[in-house]
């Protein structure tokens, strides 16, 4: 999603810290659960070599594995609370590492590389038996949905997120997308170089129009924008029905958005 030569600039440290608290960018393409509740078993030709169970899970003694895929599934349902069960054949691990580094897609961008690596792991279900299967999600959105959404706008186009906390801008993020790749990652400070007065901007949902106008003029036509309060954003991200939550918030004026609700 992020072009390898993307311009990443004018990142205000405190704003960037706030963004990182929302999403750990360094792991953005990492499809594995961060949760430590991961049961791992390594075997060689069916003979169990090592097993690692997270604390609090009583795993039955296993010496021999005949059907790793079935066993992974069985253990997952047998031990509620586990995020994932992986049963890994030793030689398949070596093969995975080897094939990952020989692949043609190796020189793609980092996100492509990681995603392709996980796809590669899925191609050896008997050797690398993982249940449930990889599924990267961020606050309920799948990676594929996010990519599709980012890639569906006009070319080029821009996205804006502004979050207000204690009546001051807590987070601003501007993205410019072209040819389905993010080409610019920046904050509202970027606009200062064009003579836009950015101090204290945005101060609330009411600033949506002026911010969008400036971005349109100096970055790209706006595809989607959202300005909301910090607590509202947290509520929105946690909500099961984000569309409904957003509609309600827009109606009562706590959020202003453009191109999001659809």
């Amino acid at each position: 999603m992020i072009a390898r030569d993307a311009e990443i600039t004018d990142l205000k440290p405190e704003v960037w810290r706030n963004l990182l608290s929302l999403i750990d960018l360094s792991k953005a393409a990492d499809v594995r659960p961060r949760n430590p509740n991961l049961l791992s078993i390594m075997h060689h030709g069916g003979k169990v070599l090592r097993m690692y169970a997270p604390a609090g899970f009583r795993v039955p003694a296993i010496e021999q594995i005949d059907d790793p895929q079935e066993l992974a599934k069985k253990l997952y349902y047998q031990l509620p609370g586990l995020e994932c069960v992986q049963i890994l054949e030793r030689d398949s691990l070596l093969l995975f590492s080897d094939r990952a580094q020989r692949s043609e897609w190796i020189s793609g961008d980092l996100e492509d590389f990681l995603n392709q690596a996980y796809r590669l792991a899925e191609q050896d279900p008997a050797g690398l038996s993982i249940y449930p299967a990889f599924a990267w999600k961020w606050n309920g959105f799948s990676l594929d949905r996010i990519r599709t959404w980012f890639g569906s706008g006009p070319d080029p186009c821009a996205y804006f997120l502004g979050v207000i906390r204690d009546n001051a801008p807590w987070l601003t993020l501007i993205l410019r997308v072209s040819e389905k790749k993010i080409r610019l990652i920046t904050t509202i400070d970027y606009l200062a170089r064009f003579g836009v007065s950015v101090a204290g901007l945005p101060s609330g949902p009411k600033d949506l129009a002026s911010v969008c106008e400036a971005i349109h003029a100096h970055v790209a036509p706006i595809r989607a924008a959202l300005i909301c309060d910090y607590l509202m954003l947290a509520k929105l991200l946690a909500s099961e029905d984000k569309r409904r939550e957003l509609t309600l918030a827009m109606a009562d004026g706590t959020v202003s958005s453009f191109g999001i609700a659809d």
Partner: protein, 661 residues
């Protein structure tokens, strides 16, 4: 005019200047902003700037170079001349590996895409580094093609650099490569299995053993030539006799790092570099990096270390700086993270950066290069913006630090430290050798750490693997904990430190295994013989490093306890529960505190400064008892206080007090 590296910085032009610098990446800034940026950096209190020269930026086509002739932003000669005009000295980093978040690690694509320069994994695949963006096969330190291509680049670059060396120009230091440690892929059986590397490995074995018969005697094998030997690709050791094969491979990788650096150093010298050379070391201080051997090999004390400060991880930071201080007479942090890459999980606030810098100073840092002072693209949190304007709160911190360092002549002072903890090279090699599943990309699958451990059953009474500094609960980690709880400051260094360095300390803690180099044992006994106190444990060695029966320590002491040895003493200490009276009143501190959560060190020089750090996440207070009056000089009350002082520290802060002696 020769520039000398001294313990307080660099001596040039009849004066000593501190090695206190920061990076600015000229090619990332518009040329019309260069002068403003340099002036702003100087106004923050810096006399030196540093920058890499990325090969890939300047090679615009095969063999075609642009140093500003076409694109002024690549105008290296102009930038160097501007540095001089502004009054800044320069540390230049010609690579060839620069990384710096550059596409392909800073290499021209034609070079890095050439299989002849690739490092290979144990399965024969290219070793792809995901630290390069985009992920790219990393270069092999054994590749002759890489050396040949680097020579062509240097042939173009050096005519620009060499006429601009001090005193004719601003360049005072030339740093070789970046972080020469396999791009972080330091595990034993991951890389490098390229044919050229394997050939060097065989040559290394030949030189180490002298004859195939000698090697066979150690390995228990029947090779007829070293060309028959293949390197291990995984640890499958079953008996003690298997060990040397694995340990030699680990040792070879140290040799490979040194050899590569030596070749680069020679290439620089052959092309007219006369200023001192420096090495940018990685964050690690165990195999495959051995700073002491690199210093000897390159004849420079400036083997630095990168530190990416994470204030919440104070113990790791303290350990790194203690190692630097124990290893080099000019402890040089060659890249001290100032701000962070946009991908970094954390961007330090000015307060966090202040804590990390002061902690590094309190544990011995005496030279530093901040990375980066001027914010390039893809970077967050530098004191100078791309426009040349200041990022106020960060700039204020550097302005304060620079002024304070100058006022107290910090770089001329030295940490008071009479205790050394040695890191056993053999134990660390053993730890590296006893591993499996070293392949880099297995991390993607969240392989638990324990899966890469090999259950050792070689019959040693004390398991060597568990005695590595990497292992919690090891003897060396307990030694460090014991000293810290007693508020005794210490340094760390590799066990190959020379005797004339050892005798600068009063007390040395040395971890042992059942096997240990007899010469190393003798050296430590000599230290005791010269009046030092040697403490070793957890075991009395009974074998030499080739596993033949031998024990030098055994002749001096056979049972746990302390024995006098000439004017010194030797203590055999199996466990620290028995370490009651090791720290004796003959090791006093100028200042004592009563809170074990705080850390205290003292730097002596033009003035005596007491550093008191609160590395915890909660407020702490402590009574400070001093024989002399104290006055706060950083974050502490400035009025003079005599006798005992109550210090109160907020989380992750450092106070500094001057002793008015």
């Amino acid at each position: 005019m020769a520039i000398r590296v001294e313990s307080n910085g660099l001596y040039l032009d009849g004066r000593s200047i501190p090695l206190y610098s920061g990076a600015v990446h000229y090619w990332r800034h518009a040329p019309d902003a260069w002068k403003t940026i340099l002036e702003r950096i100087k106004a923050l209190g810096f006399e030196i700037v540093s920058f890499p020269v990325p090969w890939g930026v300047h090679e615009s086509g095969p063999g075609i170079f642009d140093f500003g002739q076409k694109n002024p932003q690549k105008g290296l000669p102009n930038f160097l001349d501007l540095c001089r005009e502004v009054g800044l000295l320069v540390i230049v980093r010609p690579g060839p590996i620069v990384d710096e978040d550059m596409p392909y690690g800073g290499f021209p694509l034609r070079v890095i895409r050439n299989p002849a320069v690739w490092a290979l994994t144990s399965t024969g695949s290219p070793a792809v580094s995901s630290r390069f963006q985009p992920p790219t096969a990393m270069p092999s330190y054994a590749s002759e093609k890489l050396i040949q291509e680097t020579a062509k680049f240097l042939d173009q670059l050096m005519p620009i650099l060499t006429p601009r060396q001090f005193p004719d120009g601003p360049i005072i230091l030339c740093e070789i490569n970046k972080e020469t440690a396999f791009m972080g892929r330091t595990r034993a059986y991951d890389v490098d299995y390229s044919s050229e590397s394997v050939a060097l490995y065989r040559r290394f074995l030949g030189e180490k053993y002298g004859s195939i018969e000698a090697l066979n005697a150690v390995y228990g094998t029947k090779y007829t030539a070293v060309s028959e030997i293949v390197p291990p690709k995984n640890c499958d050791a079953v008996v003690q006799r298997d060990l040397p094969w694995y340990l030699d491979w680990v040792e070879y990788k140290e040799h490979l790092v040194r050899r590569f650096l030596r070749r680069l150093a020679d290439m620089f010298r052959e092309r007219g570099v006369t200023v001192p050379l420096a090495v940018d070391g990685p964050e690690t201080f165990t195999t495959p990096v051995d700073a002491q051997e690199i210093q000897k090999n390159l004849e420079t004390p400036l083997v630095g270390m990168e530190i990416d400060p994470r204030p919440a991880e104070y113990p790791a930071l303290a350990r790194q700086v203690r190692y630097l201080t124990g290893t080099s007479r000019l402890p040089f942090v060659s890249r001290f993270g100032c701000g962070g890459s946009w991908l970094a999980p954390q961007v330090n606030s000015p307060a966090e950066l202040e804590f990390a810098v002061l902690c590094s100073v309190m544990h011995g840092m005496s030279a530093v290069d901040f990375h980066m002072l001027a914010e390039g693209d893809r970077w967050v949190g530098s004191p100078v913006l791309r426009s040349g304007e200041y990022r106020t709160e960060y700039a204020d911190l550097f302005r304060r630090l620079s002024a304070w360092f100058a006022q107290h002549r910090i770089w001329e002072s030295k940490k008071n430290c009479r205790t050394l903890v040695l890191i056993s090279r053999q134990l660390e090699r053993y730890h590296a050798a006893f591993s499996t599943l070293n392949q880099a990309y297995l991390g993607l699958l969240r392989i638990p750490y324990v899966f890469s451990e090999v259950p050792s059953s070689l019959g040693f009474p004390v398991e060597p693997y568990l005695q590595s500094i990497r292992e919690e609960g090891s003897w060396i980690r307990e030694a460090c904990r014991y000293l810290e709880s007693a508020q005794v400051e210490y340094n760390l260094a590799g066990s190959n430190l020379m005797l004339d360095e050892l005798v600068k300390y009063d007390m040395i803690f040395a971890p042992t295994a059942d096997f240990m180099d007899p010469a190393e044992q003798q050296k430590l006994l000599d230290f005791a013989g010269r009046g030092g106190h040697l403490v070793f444990g957890p075991v009395l060695p009974t074998l030499d490093d080739r596993l033949n029966p031998a024990s030098v320590f055994g002749a001096a002491i056979q049972v746990p306890g302390t024995q006098a040895r000439d004017s010194g003493k030797v203590t055999f200490l199996p466990a620290f529960e028995q370490a009651k009276d090791l720290i004796t009143p003959d090791m006093p501190n100028v200042v004592l505190i009563d809170n074990p959560n705080l850390r205290l060190t003292i730097r002596g020089g033009a003035s005596i400064l007491v550093f008191l750090a609160n590395p915890t996440s909660s407020p702490q207070r402590s009574l400070m008892i001093s024989s002399w009056p104290l006055r706060g000089v950083w974050n502490a009350p400035a009025e003079t206080q005599a006798g005992s002082v109550m210090a109160e520290l907020t989380p992750l802060t450092v106070q500094v007090w001057e002793v008015l002696k």
